[in-house]
């Protein structure tokens, strides 16, 4: 800068230049050198592409700016591949949260060094000095009740000390080695969610766990982001349109997902599609950001969406199916849904029937292979039953080529209704009131069975009358019987006229556009205990209108970044499928339910969920009993599996000269061996070591937070207010131990870059590199690209990427394993798997318990598969760092498509280099994270056209329809890490997914199914509205039905303070996704805190606030049986009376005072929640209702919860 005389300057300031003609302005000629001030600020040295690895559907490409070696700021990349000239682009993608990320890099919240709680480190050092061997040292601490209680009781209470990486890694590795040796590898677990948000970082630890035999916890179902309705209806985990396909919708209902807030980068497609003539309808209890874009706002009360949807279904069935036949809808349904399939009726007391199971080819006397897995329809022209292609039985039969949706000249009859048809009365469930609905359906007798069609049942359930059918039917829309528009009005609060109008417009739009009507749905309608019935009532709307498998139509469920587009390569690396199969995948919800002892407080009785037409299958059983039943029937995984170390089981078998599986069955039969989940609090059955990375279970997703603190961690001041179940209400089959264990875990490790609650309560905290300091891959369902993380700067201080951290842990583990473990055999109990022949294990959906003598225990049929694998423990690190031989020995199989990537192996060996020496000699290297990324991309069809074609060819043989051309145009393409670092790359159409994306076409799910007659992965091969498993029928959920939220006030009674001095109200407690964070990430970021109110808020209606004497920004206290939370109030009129809202993932580490009620530190939003499991989510071994990791399993729902609210003292204590 030039220096000038201040005196001269002062003179210049007031100098006047030539005045303009009008005398009102003047021109001043002077230098503008000072303008370099802001130019210098803007200048930077380097721009690096990265993204944010947070569980969010964003997966946005960002430019990270580096200046003088510092990360300064970030802005969105705008160079996505084009969508073509006639639609908006994917640019920019990003949100305020992502934009604030670089704040973390140098913030005081950053974890810069490894930390261990002082007491534990001291114990470990002392024990090591005494014992010399780290594993022995660890044993001496955890097996000593006094010593272990000392450090466990200090969890969360500060007192961290710095330690070196080698020392901490030794401690962590010792805990793993000891626990595996003493209790078994299935007592070691890891939690890391959402691989798509950073695939290699996810894989770093799961690959380690897979090699040692540890337990990998699922997250999608635990988060309650999994919509069970998707596997139930589609046989698919979740498959949804990319956001660009919203543009193609002519009618969009946004139902339970606040697109601008939770799909921030993509909301513009919705805003813009309105200009293309799209109508937008929003259903939400609060007037939120998305409501702003609606043409109509339907303010349905929380949790009542199913009532509105069934009423809309009533209107559509009446106007578009009964009063008038829409050919497009009927033809779609006949071909792609189960509506024409025949269902048997079971006689019930009182002369009526109840819907039972699908009629099968076996009922027709067929002896062909898997006849009991082939469903039946009537041919419209001949009236004769026939077996349409495409059922599960066709999929897995020896003869290939019949697994397709070709009708071969037949035409399925949708309804049996005709003049003079036979009729029968059926009882149908209702849950809005006591009793059942008795209505007539047209029937036919086929063989010994009385049958009707799914459509006929649906019309009866939805109350749409037709001439000649007996029973009670609504007289019209204004007759308040299920499911009329008038009926839903008092339940939802939505005007009946509006409900009719929207239903009619939705269907009419679909009729005119051949299915371009869409429903965007999300957590607001999915996080409920009865999420599946809500969603199935939505799916009924899109299926009745022929919208699924159409661009611009169908369901658009967005909760969680669940879509790993390069799925096959990622699975191979993440679960070490290249070395050993199967991994110990575990459903998160039952694991946490048992590990945190939430089951000991269970008030929901399964039998109360059944309908009067059920058979009493749940009578006297606790939720944990049903879980145990599911485990022993092989339905869902249950790790730890047995009440004995699975390594020891293999040894015992060896000593007895028996096959380990045979030994296990024999021991089980003899009652000498039990399942761990039948005695979950026994010391030998509890999980011992848990590592959490890329997650904040305690501060974010840990539903039942206070139960975690009490039972899993053993902290001294948990906020649980509930008492345990009294005798008489306890499980029948699951053992009850008193007192309940506290502090089950011996070691909780967190790897993170910021100090969250999970880190605060951990024993060990390892410093992670941030998303701007490492290399990784990212994808999402919202956009069709794969793109990368890149390191803008090297990991600062002592931080490390997850990949490098687990490489270190694996190395130390292997070293310690030499002496303590060696090579062992391990018996893995694996559930019956979806997309494999296992799913034909238990025909007709009947439940037979070998323990009760109802069948024989046969592994893989009536109980879990028992697979014996070799664990070369000293070789774990070597295997972790190299691609193993099973890739070429067994190939890669995903969802039934398979390929043999031999060419790719050669290329990877050349690109990554090969390992020299040791157990992985000659194998392609995975030592560096870049190697892992290259392997993921090379082995997947979405990123490797050659494999996509090969996979489609394998499906072509199975299905007998042409498919390979779908990827053919890109057969020669390979997307490498470098390609994706240069620019986000559009993925290739692949059998890993169900949509066609070529020539600029937007991804919509199931377009392959609809356009190529490829079946869905369901029992019937079609999209199923009807589910005939015995437990589904027991709950009265064969068809979509409306079930209200769980009535926790009725179940648990008043949960107030018992102190009458101040007013309190019990409100529906709704926890939507935050505007200022992505789960718990960013909620402690100063920019985000500044942009709202500096911490967690409870949104309260003005009416409730007035009742409670609460003014805006007052401190309030929330409490129920589960815990207590303190925060401030945001009083608003955009929230209805009776509902309060707290953005979810309120962590407890910022400005959280002590509670008035208990004096403990106020908790998180999940201090008020406690999970329970829906029995039907446990079902397995039955077609699409078979286990898949993050595919089917009980969801950890939390939204039915209520809380008591009152104003608290404004004097705070911390």
């Amino acid at each position: 800068m030039d220096k000038r005389s201040p005196i001269l300057e002062a003179h210049q300031f007031f100098r006047r230049g030539p005045v303009s003609a009008e005398g009102w302005s003047q021109l001043v000629g002077r230098g503008r050198d000072w303008e370099s001030f802001y130019r210098d600020r803007w200048r930077h040295d380097r721009v690096v592409r990265s993204t944010h690895g947070v569980n969010c559907t964003g997966s946005c490409s960002w430019n990270v700016y580096v200046k003088d070696g510092l990360i300064t700021w970030e802005s969105q990349a705008v160079d996505y591949p084009s969508t073509g000239p006639d639609m908006p682009e994917y640019e920019p993608r990003g949100c305020p949260r992502g934009a604030s990320f670089s704040w973390y890099t140098y913030s005081p919240l950053r974890v810069r060094y490894p930390y261990v709680r002082g007491s534990l480190l001291e114990l470990f050092r002392r024990a090591l000095a005494e014992h010399g061997d780290p594993v022995d040292a660890w044993a001496s601490i955890v097996e000593d009740p006094e010593l272990s209680a000392r450090y466990k009781s200090q969890r969360g209470r500060g007192g961290f000390v710095r330690a070196s990486w080698p020392e901490v890694v030794r401690l962590v590795a010792s805990a793993h080695v000891y626990t595996i040796k003493r209790y078994g590898p299935d007592r070691v677990a890891g939690f890391t969610p959402i691989p798509a948000m950073s695939m290699a970082s996810y894989a770093s630890g799961t690959r380690f766990l897979s090699l040692v035999g540890g337990v990998i916890l699922s997250f999608y179902d635990w988060y309650s982001d999994l919509p069970p309705a998707s596997p139930q209806t589609f046989g698919d985990q979740t498959d949804v349109p990319e956001s660009g396909d919203w543009w193609n919708a002519g009618y969009l209902i946004v139902w339970g997902t606040n697109l601008p807030t939770t799909r921030t980068p993509d909301a513009h497609f919705m805003a813009e599609a309105r200009y293309r003539g799209q109508k937008v309808v929003v259903v939400s209890p609060d007037y939120a950001e998305h409501t702003k874009f609606a043409d109509h706002w339907l303010p349905a009360r929380p949790g009542t969406d199913g009532a509105l949807a069934t009423a809309m279904g009533h209107v559509i069935l009446k106007e578009f199916w009964v009063d008038r036949r829409v050919d497009y809808f009927a033809e779609y349904a006949a071909r792609f849904t189960d509506l024409p399939l025949l269902v048997t009726l079971r006689a019930r007391d009182g002369g009526a029937h109840v819907p039972d199971r699908f009629l099968r080819a076996s009922d027709l006397g067929s002896r062909e292979e898997h006849a009991e897995w082939k469903t039946v329809a009537l041919d419209e022209r001949t009236g004769v039953p026939f077996v349409p292609n495409g059922a599960a039985g066709h999929r897995w039969q020896g003869e290939e080529g019949a697994w397709n949706l070709k009708l071969e000249g037949a035409s399925p009859l949708l309804t049996l209704h005709a003049e003079g048809c036979d009729v029968a009365e059926v009882d149908l469930p209702r849950f809005d009131a006591e009793g059942v609905l008795r209505r007539g359906v047209p029937v036919r007798r086929v063989g010994a069975q009385l049958v009707t069609t799914v459509l006929d049942l649906l019309l009866a359930q939805y109350g749409v009358s037709r001439p000649g059918l007996p029973g009670e039917w609504p007289a019209g829309y204004d007759d308040p019987q299920p499911y009329t528009p008038a009926w839903q009005e008092p339940i939802t609060g939505v005007d009946r006229h509006l409900a009719v109008r929207v239903a009619r417009e939705f269907a009419r739009n679909a009729e005119l556009t051949k299915g371009r009507s869409m429903i965007a749905m999300g957590a607001g309608t999915n996080h409920w205990f009865h999420s599946d019935t809500i969603y199935r009532s939505f799916l009924a709307l899109v299926l009745l209108c022929g919208c699924e498998g159409r661009n611009g139509g169908g369901w658009a469920h967005y909760v969680g970044q669940e879509k790993v587009r390069p799925l096959s390569g990622w699975q191979t690396v993440a679960f070490a499928l290249d070395w050993v199969r199967p991994p110990r995948h575990q459903s998160g919800t039952p694991w946490f339910y048992l590990a945190t002892d939430q089951w000991r407080y269970e008030g929901v009785r399964p039998e109360d969920l059944a309908w009067p037409g059920g058979r009493g299958l749940f009578r006297g059983r606790h939720v944990a009993d049903l879980n145990a039943l599911g485990a022993r029937l092989g339905w869902l995984p249950a790790h730890p599996a047995f009440d004995r170390n699975p390594l020891d089981l293999a040894d015992e078998a060896g000593r007895a000269g028996l096959d380990p599986a045979e030994h296990v069955v024999r021991e089980l039969r003899a009652g000498r061996l039990g399942f761990a989940c039948e005695d979950p609090d026994a010391p030998q059955n509890v999980p011992r070591v848990l590592t959490v990375w890329r997650a904040n279970v305690l501060g974010s997703s840990g539903k039942g937070h206070e139960y975690f603190l009490k039972h899993l961690l053993g902290t001294p001041e948990p906020g649980v207010r509930a008492t345990e179940l009294p005798e008489g209400s306890r499980p029948r089959d699951v053992a009850w131990r008193d007192p309940a264990p506290e502090g089950k875990l011996d070691l909780l490790t967190t790897i993170d870059f910021r100090m969250t609650s999970n880190a605060l309560f951990s024993d060990v905290v390892l410093p992670a590199a941030t998303w701007y300091e490492k290399v990784d891959l990212s994808s999402t369902d919202l956009h069709p690209f794969v793109h990368t993380f890149s390191a803008a700067i090297p990991p600062p201080w002592e931080t490390k990427s997850d990949w490098d951290a687990f490489r270190l842990i694996a190395a130390e583990f292997s070293r310690l394993a030499e002496r303590h473990l060696g090579v062992r055999r391990d018996v893995v109990a694996a559930p019956l798997a979806h997309d494999s022949p296992d799913e034909l294990a238990q025909p007709f959906g009947e439940v037979r318990d070998w323990r009760a003598g109802e069948c024989e225990p046969v592994p893989g049929r009536t109980m879990p598969k028992l697979v014996v694998v070799e664990r070369d423990y000293p070789a774990v690190a070597a295997k972790h760092g190299a691609l193993g031989p099973l890739v070429e020995e067994l190939g890669i199989v995903t969802k039934g498509a398979s390929w043999m990537p031999l060419e790719e192996l050669r290329e990877l060996a050349a690109a990554n280099g090969v390992v020299r020496g040791g157990p992985a000699d000659g194998r392609p290297s995975l030592e560096r994270v870049e190697h892992a990324c290259e392997a993921i991309l090379a082995l997947s069809g979405t990123t490797n056209g050659r494999l996509a074609v090969e996979g489609f060819r394998s499906l072509e043989r199975r299905a007998g329809v042409p498919l390979a051309d779908l990827a053919g145009t890109r057969a020669g393409e390979r997307i490498t890490l470098h390609d994706a670092q240069v620019q986000p790359r559009t993925v290739i159409t692949s059998p890993e997914w169900s949509g066609i994306e070529a020539h600029g076409r937007r991804y919509a799910p199931f377009t392959i199914n609809v356009e190529r007659a490829k079946p869905w992965h369901t029992l019937t091969g079609r999209q199923q509205l009807y589910l005939d498993h015995a437990w589904m029928l027991e709950l009265g959920e064969g068809l979509p039905v409306f079930r209200p939220p769980l009535a926790y006030t009725r179940i648990y009674g008043d949960q107030g303070s018992g102190d009458g001095s101040r007013p309190e109200l019990t409100l529906s407690f709704v926890t939507p996704h935050s505007k200022w964070s992505i789960h718990s990430e960013y909620q402690d970021n100063l920019h985000m805190l500044t942009l709202f109110r500096g911490g967690a808020m409870l949104w309260l209606s003005r009416e409730d606030a007035e009742t409670l004497g609460i003014r805006d920004n007052d401190w309030v206290e929330l409490y129920n049986r589960n815990g207590v939370v303190d925060c401030r109030a945001a009083v608003t009129h955009r929230v209805p009376k009776g509902v309060c809202m707290m953005y979810h993932a309120k962590d407890r580490h910022l400005n959280t005072p002590r509670t008035e009620l208990l004096g403990n530190r106020g908790g998180t939003d999940n201090s008020l929640t406690r999970i329970t499991m829906k029995p039907t989510h446990l079902v397995g071994g039955y077609a699409q209702l078979s286990f898949g990791f993050n595919y089917y399993g009980p969801i950890g729902s939390q939204r039915d919860e209520v809380t008591v609210v009152r104003k608290r003292s404004q004097e705070l204590e911390f």
Binding site: M1, D2, F13, R16, E22, W24, Q26, V28, G29, G31, R32, D33, E35, Y38, R41, W73, M87, P88, P92, C95, P96, L109, Q154, G156, R157, F160, Y251, L259, P260, T261, T264, A271, A273, R274, R276, G277, Q278, E289, K292, D295, H296, W297, D495, H497, L498, R501, T513, S757, L1086, H1087, L1091, G1094, R1102, A1130, H1133, R1134, H1149, L1150, N1151, N1160
Partner: protein, 538 residues
């Protein structure tokens, strides 16, 4: 006619999702430093609400912008030069820190460093100004999404005249978002308010800047701006404001707030205007005529006479080409979809807004049983946001102006729906709003498809007009003692080398002998002391 080019912006509020990404990226790039903690060159407000700083739109209180004197001449609402001299050491129109908010942070490090304690450690807020523990009572977006609206929103100045009709009740709820940056006005009252002559409007692109070398920290620009978009940096003692990202604009890149706008609501482009008509336009007696008056200042870039004069006035050829493609001109002038923010302030703002549509009032939609499913869009008159409310924001209270815009948007939607869903082209729809079908399709492409190159048409700066290039090419980037500086930070030049600056000083300015305020070591004092003055309390 004196042709000038202005880089101007349009924001389509109908597309704004209220995400605040613009605020964060702007903050990170420009005001993420001590002295500007509370400064948001770009902020987003929920409407109805009080805004940032609170109630800044109440010019009876803050005296920002211009008014007309008894003779109908423009004068600063806060008073002229004499008044300023009287109030030079205490400006009653200056917002205090509480009108903005007291910036805070947390003692985050306690989470890692806490010794073994009774219970889990917690990070608590403390002031970034005083370093003392504090209770958070305000923020730059305190009333986000109608938070606190039942208690506070009645004080929203935009409710003027409709207070009795708009109640903060669930059934009536409505809201929209208003992102704001500096308006880079044609008649900037901040520039005119500066006693030091430190502010200027750049001649070549109209960007309004505070010369950081010349600013003496009087802060009359802060109070003089009716949009409260000039801020006081309490570390440097100087005013700072949105620079329209001129380092990027000069390179042909959009502003940070624009490029990072994920709602894709922002447009940047040139508007040519007649500098000789500015004063008259700002001086029309009736506030409701200001919109048309400002329209009259703009020049048609396709008019050969305008082009000829522009060339004579030194506007480069590629700038004229850019003006022809300007999305701002198309939206604001050609299709009259965008409107100026508070034209009644008479500053002739250059950031314009497309008003938002909103859901229909449910009570007006109960004919569902008879609804024709092929006619899906509700009538404009039934929308939730009162047009009078929008009129108080964008058209000096003239509701018909708002209705006309909303009708054009609705006609475009209806026309496109017929085309896309029913496969019909209905020529009557464009005609009903005085446009042709091709016009609606142009609007549609610009508003909906909105490609990057159509949203941002920004000609690059012509460095050759103002610099000794051969010399600078070799020295660019060097900035050592006696060195030549950063591509232009050379010795002060004498004479006019092409950078003609237009400083607007109407009634502003102080006598040359007035002393600038003393710059205290603790520059916070003025901010914090101000809050103690009872008249200035928020």
């Amino acid at each position: 006619m004196r042709v000038r080019a202005q880089v101007a912006m349009v924001m389509n509020l109908d597309k704004c999702i209220g995400c605040h990404t613009c605020s964060v990226t702007c903050k990170q790039v420009w005001t993420n430093r001590p002295g500007t903690e509370y400064v948001w060159f770009n902020n987003v407000e929920t409407k109805p609400g009080l805004g940032y700083p609170r109630r800044y739109e109440d010019q009876e209180r803050w005296k920002g912008g211009w008014t007309l004197d008894r003779r109908g001449k423009l004068k600063l609402k806060a008073g002229g030069r004499g008044w300023k001299l009287l109030n030079v050491f205490w400006n009653p129109d200056l917002p205090t820190i509480d009108d903005y908010y007291e910036p805070w942070t947390y003692d985050y490090d306690t989470l890692i460093s806490a010794p073994l304690s009774e219970r889990d450690p917690v990070a608590r807020p403390f002031s970034q100004l005083t370093g003392e523990p504090m209770t958070v009572r305000g923020g730059p977006n305190w009333d986000d999404n109608l938070a606190g609206a039942p208690e506070h929103a009645h004080a929203d100045p935009l409710l003027r005249g409709i207070e009795d009709r708009v109640r903060m009740e669930y059934e009536q709820a409505f809201m929209f978002f208003l992102p704001r940056i500096c308006e880079h006005c044609l008649n900037p009252s901040c520039v005119a308010s500066c006693p030091s002559g430190a502010m200027y409007k750049r001649d070549e692109d109209g960007i309004v800047l505070v010369d950081q070398d010349r600013c003496r920290g009087w802060r009359f620009c802060v109070s003089g701006c009716p949009y409260k978009k000039v801020y006081f940096n309490h570390r440097t003692g100087k005013a700072e404001k949105c620079t329209l990202c001129y380092p990027r604009i000069e390179a042909g890149q959009p502003t940070i707030c624009s490029e990072t706008c994920v709602g894709r609501i922002r447009y940047l482009g040139l508007v040519l205007y007649d500098a000789d008509r500015v004063e008259a336009a700002a001086s029309v007696p009736d506030e409701r005529d200001l919109l048309e008056a400002q329209m009259g200042v703009f020049l048609d870039p396709s008019d050969p006479e305008v082009q000829a004069q522009a060339r004579r006035d030194g506007i480069p050829e590629d700038w004229l080409q850019a003006a022809l493609r300007s999305p701002v001109y198309t939206l604001a002038v050609r299709y009259r979809l965008a409107l100026p923010l508070h034209p009644e302030y008479r500053t002739l703002p250059m950031v314009w807004y497309v008003p938002p549509l909103s859901p229909v009032v449910n009570a007006l939609e109960t004919d569902g049983y008879e609804a024709d499913p092929d006619d899906v869009f509700p009538a404009i008159d039934a929308l939730r946001i009162p047009v009078e409310y929008l009129a108080n924001l964008l058209s000096a209270g003239d509701a018909d102006v708002i209705r006309a815009v909303l009708r054009r948007l609705a006609a475009m939607r209806a026309y496109m729906r017929k085309r896309e869903v029913l496969g019909e082209v209905d020529e009557s729809l464009p005609a009903s709003v005085g446009l042709g079908a091709a016009d609606l399709e142009t609007m549609y492409r610009l508003l909906a498809i909105a490609k990057y190159d159509d949203r941002y048409v920004i000609p690059k700066a012509h460095a050759e007009l103002g610099r000794r290039l051969m010399e600078q090419q070799g020295a660019c980037g060097l900035d050592f003692a006696g060195g030549p500086g950063n591509c232009g930070a050379v010795e002060p030049r004498t004479g006019n080398e092409g950078f003609m600056l237009t400083a607007l000083e109407h009634g502003g300015g102080l006598p040359a002998d007035a002393a600038p305020p003393r710059v205290h070591d603790d520059l916070l004092r003025p901010l914090l002391d101000g809050r103690l003055a009872p008249e200035a309390g928020g």
